[in-house]
Amino acid sequence: MRAVTIVGASLAGLYTAQALRTQGYDGEVVVIGDERARPYDRPPLSKEFLAGKIEADVLTLESADDDLDARWLLGSPAVSLNPATREVVLADGTRIGSDAVVIATGARARALPGTRQLAGVHSLRTIEDAAALRSELLPGARLVVIGAGFIGGEVAATAKALGLDVTVVEAMASPLAGPLGTQMGAVVSGLHEANGVALRCGVGVERIVGTGRVEAVQLVDGTLLPADVVVVGIGAIPNVEWLIRSGVALGNGIECDHQGRTGIPGVLAVGDCAAWYDQRLGRTHRVEHWTGAMERPAIAVAALLGGDGSSTDRLAGIPYFWSDQYDVRIQFAGHVIEADSVTVEEGAADSHNLLAVYRRGDVPVGVLGMNQARLFGRWRRQLNAAVPV
């Protein structure tokens, strides 16, 4: 193999380039990215960067002694992939041919359907998004956050600490109901309330009110929430539209085997855009968490360089994420969807310091920690070691 093209110049793309080099590949590496910036870290965008505690310069993911010897083509998106020749075409007309293509185009923030973009309405995915939002988080301003997922919860916590008046609206019965289930989601509700953030669960948004600039958020039950700033945090959509005519199988993300291979030889996918086959679930599953985007490229690169795949049976770890909200670090590993029960094994819900284990029958399938890093880490290890049945 003489040339590998990586499409997407963020966490998963960078770690793919690094894995190629650490695994001994010495051919050409081209990294294509539509953002102009070199790879930067997104998690701080809703945390320390949004809070003004750190600046953009420390978000860079590369390190001074990275010796990737890669060619970076930044600022123009890839618009097509030819499955037979593996040629990638960029919007600016550049054509890149190679022996293998690793797709790492990530995801983008989902927009609220049916709302016009008004001044004061934000989503959060890029450094520009974060800088724009940060400039509007002024003490005393009224912020309405739509969606109590990770980003919504973190923005609410950060804004509250900055002195804003914060209301969170969530269509589901509790915050983080999808990733944690409603029982533990209720604990997160308590966390928002204990910190003086108003929470409206189980009610959808009818429309965003305003001319030119946002004035309020109207809920389906008629409530009008006055707002100076609105953040829409209702999930992310994989950036895969550019592959629609490529023949690469697309579902919720790029369909891959358990090591990132698509159905097209020499084409793999990693990070938030990819839905790898998950042996525990028995189906493909798109993971959109930092650790997956960082760890899985090494597995995909081993599959790529190892060729047939039978020799390389490295398995991805169970999905893991963390989220920092107020003074609580939430950590979760596993799959809520597999569980039929959850029990608090350490600490207590009202102290926001707990370890909870999710089980199917009596088999542990997930673990949640709130400010329980040590115990959580031991459980996560144990879950990873368990052989999927």
Binding site: I54, L61, M294
Partner: protein
């Protein structure tokens, strides 16, 4: 010099966080060695005393960077900078830590002690 605790109070395989500015993590390895390093990961804000100890290596509980406790070197990313190491003496069966006078590699945005 900080007198941490009797050696017997920290069994092999265990770690202890010592409140100092910045905080320190003390590890007793399964091989019976005792090491002290800054407790705060150099990548972001996580306590290494909560991490996973294997041999002379500590794995961060947040993003799994690995540091060599003997040298502080980064054995696995995402951390880029080494963790500062301190000198450990065992005196009358007590763990004593002699603080390094090198600059700590605290993660961006993290400070300890009186900020002026």
């Amino acid at each position: 010099m900080i007198r941490v605790c009797p050696l017997s109070a920290l069994p092999p395989g265990e770690a202890l966080r010592v409140d100092a500015e910045p905080p320190i993590a003390v590890f007793h390895t399964d091989d019976g060695e005792v090491f002290a390093v800054d407790d705060t990961c150099t990548h972001q804000d996580a306590s290494l005393a909560d991490g996973w100890l294997e041999g002379c290596e500590i794995e961060c509980p947040l993003h799994a960077s690995k540091f060599d406790l003997r040298t502080g070197a980064v054995d696995a990313p995402p951390a880029k900078l080494p963790i500062r190491t301190h000198t450990v003496h065992i005196e009358d069966d007590h763990i004593c830590v002699e603080l390094s006078d090198a600059q700590p590699n605290l993660p961006p945005g993290v400070t300890f002690g009186s900020k002026s």
